[in-house]
Amino acid sequence: MEGFTYLDIFATKGVEYLLVISVLLLFIPFWRMVSRPARAIYQATESIVPAISEWFHLPEEKLYYHQGHGWAMPESGNVVRVGMDDFAQKLVGKIDAIQFPQVGSRVTQGEKGWSLLAGSKSIDMLSPVDGEIIEINKSLLSSPESIGKDPYGQSWLMKVQAPKISANLKNLLSGGLARQWMEGVRESLLARMNYNLGAVSQDGGVLVDGIARNLDRERWDEIAREYFLIS
Amino acid sequence: MGMDRRTFLKGLGTGIAVAGPGSSLLPGRLEAKEVVASKEFMGVLVDTTRCIGCRSCELACAEAHALPVPDISDASALDKIRQTSVTQWTLVNRYQTEKGEVFAKKQCMHCNQPGCVAACLVKAMQKREDGAVTWDTNCMGCRYCMISCPFDIPKFEYDSAFPKIQKCSLCWERLQKGEKPTCVEACPAEALAFDSRRELIEEANRRIYKESGKYISHIYGEREVGGTGYLYISAVPFEQIGFRTDLGTTAYPELSKGFLYSVPIVLLLWPAFLIGVNTITKRKDEVQRREGGKK
């Protein structure tokens, strides 16, 4: 009967304290492991980051960048050579063809300059300068596989006669400003890629497919447009 | 609101008073001392050694409360152990024990601190000043009293569109007129005695001491679930005559006390804590970003 025999209501306290201490000790590795990805995933990230970083490398030459990932290089007089940066090609992946406006037609800074055709999708890019197109890179038309091979050299896109060249160049980024901008792009892309590291595998699949397609297989073109400031 | 401040406060007062009387002997309830009610609880002592199983109490109860009248001449009703029901507030069961046949009456125990009263969210179930536990029609029919009763006494009319909770009321309407419960009056064998709970416990102890060996030395209901209005003495251990002996001596409302006491504390501390965290996390750049973009 209660009250007639000795009942130790704290009989299990000692065991409980020991249990709590061991659970807390167990909780430390549990917490550390659950709050960071497993080693295999982690290494995949580590290996891919330097590879990705190359795409954001900007050449030291006197190039002016538009935030829609086109560049402009002043040549003689008012003639400007125009192209797209390495990132643009890596983002879209394999480009089947480029649709240029007619030679002699006009382009406007910040408005549609040319379109990339990839698979069934067409993605516009913005012109970095105002002016009249005087030449397009015909070698890209005859051999589309060379698109993006040498983005700042052989794979230039077109030459533009730009009357307001000095005003146009003031709207573009170069040197330290350009590198800062590209660093921002890199960070935003890496943050996104973290979500889908499984898809961004260690092999070169990314480079062929394009980053955008790895982020979202269905609507990758929307992502590309977002980076090209189209949408 | 159809209720003024005074009745509300009074209502709160009785709520606490219910918790008071039975626990005044328990240590550590100093805070309840001031709300002990003035009137003593009444109760019924059931001497199972005297009960002859005539079921007169069943008959009297049914007649007094307009319930279907049982045929007490039909002895076959005693063949199986019955539970009280919506049409039968009290009944007598026959048990085979180590000392032969024993009859035990069953009905609401009228706990000092009833679980059903603490459970009721509209105060339809009430502990009256004289000890009766009664039901009223402002009940919502949630049946939480049935969950909370250690003796499974409140019964619900499932088959009615306008159901009631049915249970023994200790003939509360008779008590108010100064009469005894009808079952006590009907008992021909003096197995039932009606008096104040204090007197009944003394009487029970007197019988246990006087006729040494006849009774086991235990008054069921003296301390069970904090004490009950109905008290039982028996010649055989109570397990053998259908009583639960594992219910403990804690009054049932005490079981949810810990939680209920924590409610005001949590309601005070938690929002203050949350506002604190909310303020700390309000960094300047966050605010600027919010202004710029997402809400």
Binding site: L19, D216 | V122, K123, C139, C142, D152, F259, T281, K295
Partner: protein
């Protein structure tokens, strides 16, 4: 900008009424498989509810004097409310901790929580034998302040209001009421704080209901810590529901979700599963501690003990490990499976306490099993909730971005 607002204010009430009436019409196909299955069930459910009101509880339920609470309480209310716990956990993370990561799912979660309370807690109405007295605890003449159920009744009501306030900006955006949207938006953080405090208490309170069922609930489940266990388990119950519901919503309503959110979604799932893993880890060892505290290990080698171990190991420890691995290896399938297992674990736990381990000594033949009518009514309630959820999601900015003007008026 100002002229736009001024013009909008000129819009007459008539226009809004006309707009609502046009919105009330169904959008999209009516004869989908889901509609064809759910509509008859809902219709039957309504008929059964009328029958129950006319003939009493006994006509449709298998409830008895031994088992006064069935699945309408044990499943609809206890499980429904636990699953709705995601709303208070996520509002805590988004509005108190200000983690923007989960912002895109906060509206869907709050809406889900609100509807869960309206419908599942609303199921209490059916379970009340004397339902016409339902307002008694609110403005009746008698307040049973000493009842845990009194507390829960008030908390449900207040919490529904808080969740409504949290969701109301979406309604204002839908109706194009800019001024109102601004006012409602400013109330959000207050509603969140009140909502979290209320949730903490009534999630625990649902467990505290069974404190006075001592001696009726099997000792392996009955403990004075039930309220704490209910609170902790509501955290991962709610988060698991968010994972589960989100998985379905992202298929069904994929056109409403911007690609950005699709991409961010997996990362959100990983965050949620980390939360689940930690909450379940703590919950599992709390249960273990309570087992030792109660000296109950001898009971483990009984049929009820095996059932207890099934719940604790199979439906707590294993899904906990799956969440853990899923978060580490970014395995979405594993996370989703874990969420379903954890949800089954919650259903089993709540039903154990309210029905299965309740009066465990009663023989099988006399035990409570829900009647087909109780199940149909429960299904009808769930399906109606899904219909309402779908109706709202198809009209108000829940998954998608709010209109541009609302983005400018930040909170």
């Amino acid at each position: 900008m100002n002229t736009v607002i001024a013009e909008e204010e000129k819009r007459e009430l008539k226009d809004i009424v006309a707009f609502i009436r046009s919105e009330l019409k169904p959008k999209g196909k009516l004869l989908t498989p889901f509609n064809l299955i759910s509509a008859p069930i809902i219709l039957l459910g309504v008929l059964l509810i009328l029958y129950r009101l006319a003939r009493g509880m006994g006509a449709v339920t298998n409830l008895s004097q031994e088992f006064p609470w069935g699945i309408w309480i044990g499943f609809d209310v206890m499980v429904g409310v636990a699953f709705a716990g995601g709303a208070y956990v996520l509002t805590f993370v988004v509005y108190i901790l200000r983690s923007d990561k989960y912002h895109s799912i906060i509206r869907a979660t709050v809406l889900n929580g609100l509807l869960a309370y309206v419908f599942y807690a609303g199921a209490i109405f059916l379970d009340l034998g004397r339902w016409w007295n339902i307002t008694n605890p609110l403005w009746g003449n008698k307040f049973g302040v000493n009842s845990v159920l009194f507390l829960i009744a008030w908390h449900f009501l207040l919490y529904m209001l808080a969740e409504f306030v949290e969701f109301s900006p979406a309604i204002a955006e839908w109706l194009g009421l800019r001024k109102l949207r601004k006012i409602l938006g400013s109330l959000t953080v207050g509603a969140v704080i009140v909502g979290i405090a209320l949730s903490t208490l009534h999630q625990a309170g649902l467990g505290a209901l069974f404190m006075m069922a001592k001696g009726k609930v099997h000792p392996l489940w009955y403990t004075e810590f039930i309220p704490v266990l209910f609170f902790v388990s509501s955290i991962f119950a709610g988060l698991s529901m968010v994972i589960f519901e989100g998985t379905i919503s992202h298929r069904v309503f994929s056109d409403k979700i911007s690609h950005e959110d699709h991409a961010a979604y997996d990362d959100m799932l990983i965050g949620l599963s980390q939360g689940c893993a930690v909450a379940m880890f703590v919950y599992f060892f709390a249960q273990f501690l309570i087992l030792i505290h109660g000296w109950h290990w001898a009971l483990l080698n009984t049929p009820m003990g095996y059932w207890y171990l099934t719940e604790m190991v199979g439906l707590v420890a294993i899904p906990c490990f799956m969440f853990f691995q899923g978060a580490r290896y970014r395995n979405m399938l594993l996370i989703r499976t874990a969420a379903i297992l954890a949800m089954i674990g919650i259903i089993v736990n709540r039903l154990n306490i309210s029905i299965i381990a309740f009066k465990w000594w009663v023989p099988f033949s006399e035990r409570y099993f829900p009647s087909w009518m109780e199940i149909v009514i429960t299904l009808a309630i769930i399906l109606t909730e899904i219909w309402v959820f779908r109706w709202i999601v198809n009209r108000m900015p829940v998954f998608g971005k709010p209109p541009a003007w609302a983005e400018e008026t930040h909170q």
